[in-house]
């Protein structure tokens, strides 16, 4: 799909340009914990900040340090070099120490006219759900005031319904790999996930439906091994493509630019409370505490359902959250009989691809595939 190609290689894509022409406001966010429905309900274009595999960090390194995650540095670089000048505002979240630093430096160096901080709890219980609900209400108030928009329950419900529909279609596409013949590469799924934060919801749903329609006609792919991949915050579609070219196809993942995007279980019906549950209950990120078993079980379940032969867990150099969690996951998944490869990587480092390929090739051989 040509449109998908453009969305996953261009920051300022056609939808962004169209929004500008139409006078629509665009607000950037980076973390999966950001309830994009609030922006949708406000008529604002939510754009997920990403770097699309660009590894240049020269300017960003003058702010963040070399001891910070390459993905955050790469995003900051694009903020500093003007690639994100189309944003009318930025929403910060306390995803991790690196991300907090990225936002602080961005706002320091290139102040955005609208800058709002959503304080996402690290625990899930009734108190934190209430706190997060209030955070969403504060976001609604801030957007309403700054952009002079009206966000009511009806609009929020419509936005939530739209995202539920998207999740349902995405789930079908995602799980279509779990049968006998795989017709979609894992990197294509990742491309779809990355595109999710680059275009308006209605257009995205339409694109997904078109994509779903095209799958059936595709031929079955050669598959040397079925791989689960997870870990690092990354949108490096090319990296996954390169690794899949070795024959191991990604059949499920736990990336935050991946399958976790469409986890939406919630019980509440009142829209803001429902958003609080959708985004906090389903935040299966290692930044959350007292919930390791939930994350591990989620992966074990995906591995079983996708019939994965092995798992490759990545972490960006200097990411402690994934770096530590991956070690525990490896121990636990191996106890369940699943071979696991841990890979530390630099974000967007093309020069490192040879090493990564060698490791994955060796892993495929270990899987006897």
């Amino acid at each position: 799909m040509e449109v998908l190609k453009e969305l996953t290689t261009t920051i300022e894509n056609e939808y962004v340009k169209q929004a500008w022409v139409n006078g629509q406001k665009i607000v950037g966010y980076a973390c999966l914990a950001t309830p994009r429905e609030v922006l949708d309900a406000a008529g604002i274009f939510p754009y997920r900040i990403k770097a699309l595999g660009r590894g240049d960090t020269g300017m960003a390194d003058a702010y963040l340090s070399r001891f910070n995650c390459g993905f955050c540095r790469a995003c900051l670089q694009l903020g500093l070099d003007g690639s994100y000048n189309f944003l009318d505002g930025i929403i910060e979240t306390n995803g991790c120490d690196h991300l907090r630093g990225m936002f602080e430096n961005w706002q320091y160096a290139v102040p955005s006219p609208f800058f709002h901080y959503i304080r996402v709890p690290h625990l899930v219980d009734q108190d934190s759900l209430q706190w997060f609900k209030e955070e969403i209400e504060l976001l609604i108030a801030a957007l309403s005031e700054h952009f002079a928009v009206d966000i009511d329950d009806q609009k929020l419900k419509a936005a939530i319904d739209m995202q539920d529909q998207i999740a349902a279609v995405m789930k079908q596409i995602y799980e279509s790999r779990w049968g006998s013949g795989i017709k979609i590469h894992g990197h294509e799924i990742m491309a779809l996930m990355v595109a999710e934060g680059s275009m308006p919801a209605a257009d995205y749903l339409q694109m997904l439906e078109t994509f779903r329609g095209e799958i059936e006609a595709r031929r079955t792919l050669d598959c040397r091994a079925r791989l689960f991949m997870g870990g690092a915050a990354t949108d490096e579609i090319d990296l996954i493509a390169e690794l899949e070219a070795l024959g191991g196809l990604m059949v499920a993942d736990s990336f935050c630019f991946g399958g976790r995007i469409f986890l939406r279980e919630a019980a509440a019906t009142e829209p803001v409370r429902r958003l609080s549950e959708i985004y906090l209950n389903n935040l299966l990120c290692p930044r959350m505490f007292m919930s390791y078993s939930g994350r591990k079980n989620y992966i074990s379940n995906l591995v079983a359902r996708s019939k994965a032969d092995g798992a490759v867990l990545f972490h960006n150099k200097f990411c402690d959250l994934h770096g530590i969690e991956n070690v525990k996951l490896k121990m636990d998944l191996e106890k369940e009989g699943l071979p696991v490869l841990l890979l530390e990587k630099e974000y967007g480092a093309g020069a490192d691809i040879g090493r990564m390929k060698t490791r994955v090739q060796a892993f495929l051989e270990q899987l006897k595939r």
Partner: protein, 471 residues
């Protein structure tokens, strides 16, 4: 092989047991030892331990270091004896104030970073073998050595194990909280997570307070006892005495030359992290104050040239006391200490159990690192504190040690350095190294950089300022 962690046992004793064994001997030392006796002691100790004792027990500060060693020894003894006495040991990171644990009869607090530092300071081979042990599990090399050294020892299955772990850094340091979580999961220990939201408002405080109250409930369950007002009050009274002494030392630091020896910052923070609200903590701080006052009144000390007043804006280096604290002193550089002292404690209101608890919660909210890195803006609160202290103590140069693992401070260091310079005119030297692992950056390199900074930046800008003021 430890069944839970899969780690092969490659040595015979863990960090805690070795440190405790050494302190069992040190606590037997008389309150005063002569230089000759110190020489004798140093000769029988292994090189790494001897090096630290040379610095800790030197005559000029011995009056304070003896109570300090006794305080640490008491903390280690209590931890070691806890199981026999039917008490539970609670391990917590440095930013978790221990006084609440001291208020339980059945609980004993011990601090990860204090144990690591004791290991690095007093053991032959420092903490290296335990770090390597943790790396052997596949953990990344960018973890914090302050946590990983002690926890690595625990993971070996050959060391003491606490009965519960408090993750007190949730919201202010990812690596610290995640490492503690990892150990609790691997060893199957109960974990209590105390989250601090990055929100400086009363709403943020109330959320934190609610978390803290829930934590007390979990501690009560662990201890098998309710938190008693009487015991809490007793601890609170001693907390207030510690706070008073802390502020007295703070005031003395304003004097030129600074009469408070640099190494006392280590004594103060160890007291804050482990024995705040205990008699042993009070004795240590009283002794530090006594020595500092004697210095202040001594003609010799007053006539000392002070080339620079240097503040370490986050961590210091803790692996070589002689080449760090003593060397700076020899060079007439006043070491004003590091951010680990910036707890800004306030006296507790002793009116009722509620007011005492409210004060303790505020103390935890304002404790080191939590206060700065757990703030709404990491850089803003950090900058404000640095600027305040520069003005309070007349600091003329600041240094960021660049501990590799401090991703949060590293991420806002550039902004911080720029703003500190802009607001105060005081320059900041940015170093790189590991505060607890000597092999990362040799102390000689650090000395060279500090020396150049003092000679070429601080002293030159002082000279320029003087020239400008005299026309």
């Amino acid at each position: 092989m430890d069944n839970r962690t899969g780690l092969k046992k490659t040595y015979s004793a863990g960090l805690f047991s070795r440190v405790h064994a050494l302190f069992s001997i040190l606590k037997k030392l008389p309150n005063h030892i002569s230089e000759e006796e110190l020489d004798g002691l140093i000769k029988v100790l292994p090189e790494d331990s001897a090096n630290s004792m040379k610095s800790l027990l030197k005559p000029a500060i011995q009056q304070a270091s003896m109570p300090f060693l006794h305080m640490l020894s008491a903390a280690l003894d209590e931890t070691a004896a806890a199981k026999e006495q039917g008490r539970k040991v609670v391990l917590a990171p440095f930013n978790f104030p221990p006084e609440i644990i001291h208020a339980f009869d059945n609980l004993v607090p011990i601090t990860t970073e204090v144990l690591t530092t004791l290991g690095v300071v007093s053991l032959e081979g420092q903490g290296e073998r335990y770090w390597e042990q943790a790396m052997g599990l596949g953990l990344p090399d960018h973890l914090c050595s302050a946590n990983t050294i002690d926890l690595g020892s625990m993971l070996s299955g050959m060391d003491f194990e606490p009965d519960a772990i408090i993750s007190g850094c949730v919201g202010s340091c990812d690596v610290n909280s995640k490492t503690h979580e990892f150990v609790s999961l691997l060893l199957g220990l109960p974990q209590i997570a105390l989250e601090k939201p990055p929100d400086n408002s009363e709403r943020g405080f109330n959320y934190f307070k609610n978390n803290y109250i829930k934590m007390i409930g979990e501690l009560e369950e662990l201890a098998g006892e309710k938190l008693k007002e009487e015991k809490l009050r007793l601890v609170a009274e001693k907390v207030n005495r510690c706070t008073e002494l802390y502020h007295d030392l703070w005031e003395l630091k304003k004097q030129v030359p600074c009469p408070v020896p640099g190494i006392f910052s280590l004594f103060v923070c160890a007291t804050r992290f482990a024995m705040w609200g205990r008699d042993e903590g009070i004795h240590t701080l009283e002794a530090c104050l006594k020595v500092s006052r004697q210095n202040y009144e001594s003609a010799d000390y007053k006539s000392r040239e002070e080339r620079a007043r240097v503040l370490w804006i986050y961590l210091s280096y803790y692996y070589d006391l002689v080449k760090f604290y003593d060397w700076m002193e020899e060079k007439n550089i006043s070491n004003m200490g590091d951010a680990l002292q910036w707890a800004f404690p306030e006296p507790l209101d002793l009116t009722s159990k509620e007011t005492i608890l409210d004060g303790m919660i505020r103390s935890a909210w304002n404790n080191v690192m939590t206060r700065q890195m757990g703030a709404a803006s990491m850089s803003q609160r950090w900058i404000e504190d640095i600027v305040y202290i520069i003005r309070e103590w007349g600091v003329n140069g600041t240094i960021y040690c660049g501990h590799h693992s401090c991703k949060q401070t590293w991420s806002v260091f550039s902004v911080t350095r720029n703003e500190v310079l802009k607001r105060t005119g005081v320059p900041t030297l940015g170093l790189q190294g590991d505060s607890w692992i000597r092999s990362m950056t040799p102390m000689s390199v650090i000395q060279e950089e500090v020396e150049q900074f003092v000679n070429n930046v601080i002293n030159k800008s002082n000279r320029r300022r003087r020239r400008r003021s005299t026309g």
